[in-house]
Symmetry: C2
Subunit: 271 residues, 2 copies
């Protein structure tokens, strides 16, 4: 039995560079599938066309909201080399493109070179002493994502969840798949985008659609909980960056992401 | 007369979604055009096809080195909306693709929303008290880029230039076009990639080819010198991130970038 995540990112070949997929409703914010989940799905399709196993750097531009249901992904090999291969994908529903992505794959297990890491994993109490971060959001928006991905943060954080935003756009949390699937490079595009927006700690709420999300996968994660550090440093005229680091159970940095997003008025609650 | 940079990023229409360009030799490291310059050129071509004026987020994947000389750029509009438009470009020479890019354009002057900035511009002595950072590189590699872009850093930095790397992969510097062209959003893809690699301050040298570079343009820069802050936090098995912030003469953050690059053996010096 494939895990829920693997089933939700499965793609079926339907011709040269053409894949069919079923967008799951298990990673929604309100009734919109999370951008990171769509990026994971697109990355899987692009990866099917490439000879190297691991996504090293993936960028998605989100041009229309998607919805749970059938989707089509067209892929193109940009270049296939000895150590690296680059591909492109476009994810469409009913003939309307929702996301365009570029991905370069390689083999993390074959990298050789110096290692120097500045910084450390987020300092958090053990998961059992942390509090679950779950939907629904303010205004009654349901969040299926937090049923599929377990998120636990230091008690009292995020402050906005109890009406007391802390004034610093940061959130650290433990993250894992609820159903027990171990983390791997293919899951990184989803997991880096799984926390609630760090900008909510400045007292803002609303909808924070992603324009663009880039994920660098830096190492194959060990089994077990991941620790995520999320922060927004530059909110300028309603546009914001969000940087996320992912550290594995062995204390190694395994992924980094940055997205550009917009703070907008919240959608109406779904029934 | 267009500036050197505008001439070097000029594109000539040659059919539906097809542009011809001449890659300049004025932004070389050794005999290879700088990745940021190629991204600026590709961004210009994509922007010609889009109705909005400013690149907000641009990502390039670099799949083959380019060389000064003729190039062809094919562009495609992914989506054109009321506030945002997304396009794709591929830059080729002699039928071989060198770079694929995605860009979302908008209008920075029309953004409205809250602003909260964490962090400040790099603290540097005035430009006249700083030292020019120029090629040639160790091993005699010529660097035309530093003739076209003026870079000035705190005296004694970068330490590697005088044989004393400081052990922290950071470099702050003043940056402007040598020929006096004011900075603008279109120049950001070049300028974020103009400093020597921050990783050299760890004592490494060599060639640091970019796999992927993403630039977020956050505000229209004021005239005058820019201040750049560059750092590498995670060098892992020879792969590295490099983050750059760009602050304008009014002390406002105007761009951010992150790239994924590889530390490799240096090429042989060019004659």
């Amino acid at each position: 039995m494939p895990s829920e995540f693997d089933a939700a990112t499965a793609v079926t070949p339907a011709g040269e560079g053409l894949w069919r997929a079923e967008i799951s409703g298990a990673y929604n914010i309100g009734n919109v599938p999370n951008g990171g989940y769509l990026l994971a799905l697109g990355t899987r399709a692009v990866g099917e066309s490439l000879v190297h196993p691991t996504p090293l750097t993936v960028t998605g531009h989100f041009v229309r909201p998607a919805a749970a249901g059938p989707a089509e992904i067209t892929t193109e090999v940009v270049r296939s080399g000895r150590n690296l291969a680059t591909g492109q994908g476009r994810l469409s529903q009913a003939g309307r493109e929702c996301m365009r992505l570029l991905a370069t794959f390689g083999d993390l297990s074959k990298l050789r070179g110096p290692t120097r890491v500045a910084g450390d994993s987020p300092c958090l109490p053990p998961p059992e002493d942390c509090a679950a971060v779950r939907g629904p959001l303010p205004r009654g928006l349901s969040v299926s994502l937090t049923d599929s991905v377990e998120i636990r943060s230091r008690p009292g954080t995020p402050g906005w969840a109890s009406g007391s935003p802390r004034g610093t756009a940061e959130l650290d949390a433990w993250v894992r798949f609820t159903a027990g699937r171990p983390p791997d490079p293919m899951a990184m595009p989803l997991l880096v985008d799984a926390l609630p927006p760090a900008v909510f700690e400045l007292g803002y709420s609303g909808w924070v659609p992603t324009l663009e999300l880039t994920v660098h996968v830096r190492a194959v994660p060990a089994r077990g909980w991941l620790r995520l550090r999320s922060c927004t440093r530059f909110l300028i005229e309603g546009m914001l960056d969000e940087d996320v680091e992912v550290w594995d159970a062995d204390g190694r940095l395994v992924a980094q992401s940055r997205q550009l997003a917009r703070l907008t008025a919240p959608p109406e609650p779904t029934a």
